[in-house]
């Protein structure tokens, strides 16, 4: 006797997605408390993941603007805290490819009666400064006023808004580094840079107030072209080799990255936390899906008896798991996106972060993690269901 003449007249499973979809939604939401808690656990975890990724990006991604690509930072080879002699300037200026150079000296001033410094101040060369930081937008008359008055300063828009400072105001800062208090006249407000919180004033004003020690914090240089960058960097490093003030010259990008590395292995720590979040999330989701499916073993056995195949049952489980994970992702990633895009992040973080951009890539990572989570969480229950015989499944207690 042969195998028989059975020929399947089965339809495509997706004959009626509405009916199938409604069945999946009803199943997913049959235990509303568990579904809500599952969605919330995914949402909170993904919110945390997105926050960590954005924080990591904000801390580690160096400026990528055209201006930044042409800037070189020169600091003491020993430590960034060590000052450099002002006499280095003409030597650097003579190096071919150097277009502009300005000192960049940390003042560390406290504003008003604040206990800690709430924004950074740097002493610069007011003429060279606009040539180096081309992305900072300041009205021409304000820049002229800044350059013309030794006591003048320009302040970033965020700080100006925070303290309601406007052009023409006078402000007082007490340095935590130098034994001096300085009064400044606000000549202008700048914006459009990567960090619109800082204040810039005349290096000469600082020098005069502290007895002209002939030192600067760092040199910031603009090179003529990106092609000149490696040669200029090498030339500067070479120029001060075996002197009492050896330097380390590097691109702004390299400087920012090395600056970050000084803060410890933030990337590693954030990476580990993110991995732990994702892993914990996966365990929670897998456990929830397993419980949900175990509860319905009998029903899945009935579906098998009625003619549903393994792959169709897998599709049910996958759709349910994926759907819950994606709802969690919408809430978590969407919530983070809304909060960080439309909220005042400077206020929320007390000025630690000015921008907190949830990039498309980070949104993508969040959604991808959720999708992966949905898929992985469905694998275990699907294997159990595939292995389950109809007869054994029907014996399962409700």
């Amino acid at each position: 006797m042969g195998r028989g003449r059975f020929t399947s007249k089965r339809a495509n499973f997706q004959t009626d997605l509405m009916s199938i979809g409604s069945f999946i939604v009803k199943n997913a939401l049959r235990n509303k408390r568990r579904a809500t808690l599952s969605i919330l656990s995914v949402a909170v975890s993904l919110f945390l993941l997105v926050t960590l990724l954005v924080a990591l990006r904000e801390l580690t991604v160096p400026p990528e603007g055209e201006g930044a690509a042409l800037r070189v930072v020169v600091r003491s080879r020993i430590s960034i805290a060590n000052a450099l002699p002002a006499r280095q300037r003409p030597i650097i200026e003579r190096i071919p490819g150097v277009e502009a150079i300005s000192p960049f000296t940390w003042f560390g001033g406290k504003f008003k009666s604040e206990e800690a410094m709430s924004f950074a101040q740097f002493a610069v060369d007011p003429v060279e400064f606009p040539r180096i930081f081309v992305e900072s937008k300041v009205p021409v008359e304000q820049i002229k006023a800044f350059q013309a008055d030794r006591q003048a300063c320009i302040i970033g828009k965020i700080t100006a808004d925070k303290y309601k400072i406007k052009a023409g105001d006078r402000i007082m800062l007490s340095s935590t580094i130098y034994p001096t208090d300085l009064e400044f006249k606000v000549a202008g407000i700048y914006s459009g840079s990567i960090d619109d919180r800082n204040m810039f004033f005349h290096q000469k004003y600082l020098d005069e107030s502290i007895g002209d020690p002939g030192e600067v914090g760092t040199w910031w240089i603009k090179v003529r072209s990106a092609e000149d960058m490696p040669r200029v960097v090498a030339a500067i490093n070479r120029a001060f080799e075996n002197t009492s003030a050896e330097v380390r010259a590097e691109s702004e990008r390299a400087f920012q990255l090395s600056f970050i590395s000084m803060m410890g292995s933030i990337k590693l720590v954030v990476g580990l936390i993110s991995t732990a979040v994702v892993f914990a999330l996966m365990l929670v989701s897998a456990s929830t899906m397993s419980m949900a499916i175990r509860e319905r073993f009998r029903e899945l056995a009935i579906l098998k008896a009625l003619g549903f195949r393994r792959r169709e049952l897998f599709a049910f489980i996958l759709a349910e798991s994926f759907g819950l994970a994606m709802l969690g992702a919408l809430a978590g990633v969407g919530g983070a996106y809304s909060l960080f895009t439309f909220g005042d992040i400077a206020k929320m973080t007390n000025g630690i972060f000015i921008t907190f951009e949830v990039t498309h890539k980070i949104v993508g990572i969040g959604l991808l993690v959720a999708a992966g989570l949905g898929i992985i969480a469905s694998i275990g229950p699907s294997i159990s269901v595939a292995r389950m015989s109809v007869v054994n499944g029907l014996k399962t207690l409700d």
Binding site: G4, K26, V390
Partner: protein
């Protein structure tokens, strides 16, 4: 109203392995069941009657032997073929109804039709016909928890019939019902066999239920006893 054989069983055995021990559930059974027959399978617990029913219905596999249903040897179909075959040829009625609790009566009955080529309108017609047949058209949009046990079982019968299978298998369909509901359900199964020509195979402990059948066979220790 019986005719050519719908089920032909030859030398069928089923041996379960429980740890180190082999348990013979069915021992070289041979049996023929005609079209339109309402067969009652009786026997004490553990006699193998449910196992036999499961093999005929294609939800369990024998260790040896042949089980042809409408000329198809179901023991030789693979998992997917068996799923399709069940969908198109067998209607199931279980003791505990086994309706999906989140779906209405209508949606429960519609479930097997989601695997067919019928469009929504055709499905609606089939589902309504099946529900009318069991007298529950007015309860189509009730959830199982809103129905009595007897009504749930009638919905399960409607689900078993909706794909128009030739074979309906019922595993103690009245085990959880009061006598009136049991009578109603058995009446429906009887009508299916007598007037619609369905072959109904029912496992039961209850001689009164078996009396509704056109034939009763007894199983004992995995063998036919009469």
């Amino acid at each position: 109203m019986t005719g050519a054989n719908v089920v032909t069983i030859r030398d069928l055995s089923k041996i379960y392995r429980q740890g180190e021990i082999n348990v013979t559930a069915l021992n070289h059974i041979s049996l023929e069941i005609g079209a339109g027959e309402f067969l009652a399978l009786m026997g004490p617990s553990g006699s193998g009657k449910s196992t036999l029913l499961h093999i005929i219905a294609g939800i369990d596999r024998p260790t040896n032997g042949e089980c042809r249903v409408q000329d198809v040897d179901v023991t030789r179909l693979n998992e997917s073929e068996l799923a399709d075959w069940r969908n198109q040829n067998v209607g199931f009625v279980f003791q505990t109804f086994n309706l999906i609790p989140v779906l209405t009566a209508y949606e429960n009955v519609e479930l097997p039709l989601l695997l067919t080529r019928l469009n929504r309108k055709q499905r609606r017609h089939q589902v309504n016909t099946a529900l009318e047949l069991v007298g529950l058209a007015d309860r189509a949009h009730h959830l199982p928890r809103q129905l009595s046990g007897g009504q749930e079982q009638r919905v399960a019968i409607a689900r078993a019939l909706v794909t128009s299978p030739r074979l309906v298998v019922a595993d103690e369909p009245t085990g959880n019902l009061d006598s009136q509901s049991a009578h109603d359900v058995l009446g429906i199964l009887q009508v299916l066999s007598k007037t619609a020509g369905k072959t109904v195979i029912m496992v039961t402990h209850d001689p009164k239920a078996a009396a509704f059948g056109s034939r009763t066979i007894h199983l004992e220790k995995g063998e036919l006893s009469n």
